[in-house]
Symmetry: C2
Subunit: 310 residues, 2 copies
């Protein structure tokens, strides 16, 4: 298979663009897609301080790598969820990446001490593990971004992630979640950092290939807590469709974004605007919440009671 | 496996309802779902003359069987598409069903004579075979219903069909098609018969089982022209999701219908209302069309030119 851009040997076919690329052209393509995402959605500038949410997986490390190579000021934050060997190995990958590139990586623990992991915490509050993990990560990433004066918080969500999330929202006709799904969410007065997803134009497969050709050593194993998660099922279903009609995921998600842009032009307040109007500082930590105490502080309070009892 | 309704032996598990049913209870369940569909959507009454679009497959024969058993006045119309052995065998199934039940079945040919089948016709007009077939069937079913004074035209579209069609419309964000997707379309002044889909609450699997336990002999083979069709791909993708979360198809399609009902209450004219306002009689056949000559007449004109040439 030959590269469609130069005389080189292709390392990846990209059926949705009817092309195939060699290593240097693949890197160039990935960088161009990220630049296009950043430019089109007005995500950030080279003057902004960016905090990358780093998991040690391919997406977040590729994102961090690309932002730095493209000349953005990007530091990383790794949140350790205490999921046994998986967390130990993913932390090692994140730290090794930072060290080899002389990049700044913050690390934080998700749970109050080593006696309790994310699974035990989820059991305590009787919520699914992935929902509990999401609550903690959103909180810690946002809080660090705001407290450390970062302009933007960047996450490694890719086209597959966003299309799968959209599929879930559409299957359940969740209008409220649909309105909140965007590759960029503005900062808010109440204490939400600006959030961006610069990889939304690249697929998992393209990002994995980018990591290989750019010698990015990432944790290949999926989070063991995610087994059987709905998002994985939606990804599988979308892959069935993509296989038969390459470009389906992209036209599904990008078509949705086009619709959202048209709606935004018609001056109606969105549900998320209305939501945000009801936010105020958590009485415990000062982060924005619609309740008196935010979900994160409630979670941590339960964890502390558990520690005293055990 | 025991029946959940009586002491009998279950013949079918229905995970989306968390149940399993024996033969008589399955028949009762299917009849109840059809009655519920008819009642909820005000499809028809027992005074109405119903024309069933019969293909010889499980859905249309099961529908015809159920409507008759439930006391509705239902005749059938079979349109022969000239697809070799497939059409010969499916016609035999339709005719055998009608004969054994002493029911009235009309039969019509889709093409002007035997020298040209649906595939050749599609090639002539350079359109996909399924689109050409759809054009002819919609035309002939509607025309017969209107000309023969039927109150309602019933088709065998099931939950899998409707969910797959919805998936296609959602994946491409086809707002216009979304607005037209309904289990009941009212008759229109311009010459459209009222159209109903009484099987929209039953899955393919349930209908196939209904046929088996009610000794309905149908053509099992799918239409050979449909191989690789997008609807089959969407069905496969939905089956991946249904397998992981039983009830997903149902909540996807029924949730959509709930939304449509809410929209209908807010007095805005729908796109389909606006569309219909532009319809007038075809200059050739008098059937409703938005052009001077309807698509069917254009198709037949090309077929006649072909006959003269060959």
């Amino acid at each position: 298979m030959k590269c469609r851009k130069c005389p080189g040997k292709a390392v990846l076919s990209i059926p949705r663009h009817n092309t195939a690329l060699c290593s240097p052209c693949l890197t160039e393509y990935a960088h161009a897609q990220v630049e296009r995402a950043i430019g089109r959605e007005k995500m950030c500038t080279k003057e902004d301080k960016i905090l990358v949410a780093v998991s040690g997986g391919k997406d977040s490390l590729a994102l961090w790598d690309m932002l730095r190579k493209l000349g953005y000021q990007a530091d990383g934050l790794y949140v350790d969820l205490g999921i046994g060997q998986y967390s130990i190995r993913s932390r090692e990958k994140a730290e090794a990446f930072a060290e080899s590139r002389n990049a700044t990586l913050f690390t934080q623990d998700a749970t109050p001490d080593e006696s309790i992991g994310i699974r035990e915490l989820a059991d305590l509050v009787r919520r699914p593990t992935c929902a509990t993990c999401g609550c903690i990560k959103r909180y810690q990433f946002n809080r660090t971004a705001v407290d450390q004066d970062y302009d933007v918080l960047a996450t490694g969500h890719n086209l597959d992630d966003e299309a799968a999330r959209l599929m879930g929202n559409v299957l359940h006709w969740q209008q409220e979640f649909l309105e909140k799904q965007s590759p960029v969410l503005p900062a808010s007065m109440e204490g939400f950092a600006k959030k961006i997803k610069p990889l939304y134009r690249l697929t998992e497969r393209e990002i994995a290939a980018y990591c290989v050709v750019n010698s990015i050593d990432y944790i290949v194993q999926d989070c063991p807590m995610a087994t059987g998660s709905r998002l994985l099922v939606y990804k599988e279903a979308l892959n069935v469709i993509e296989q038969a009609s390459p470009g389906s995921k992209q036209s599904f998600y990008w078509g949705f974004l086009d619709q959202q842009r048209k709606k935004a032009k018609s001056d109606q307040p969105s549900i998320s605007d209305q939501d945000r109007a009801t936010l105020h500082p958590c009485e415990e930590c000062g982060q924005p919440t619609s309740a008196t105490i935010c979900s994160y502080c409630k979670l941590m309070a339960k964890a502390k009671i558990h520690q005293k009892v055990s």
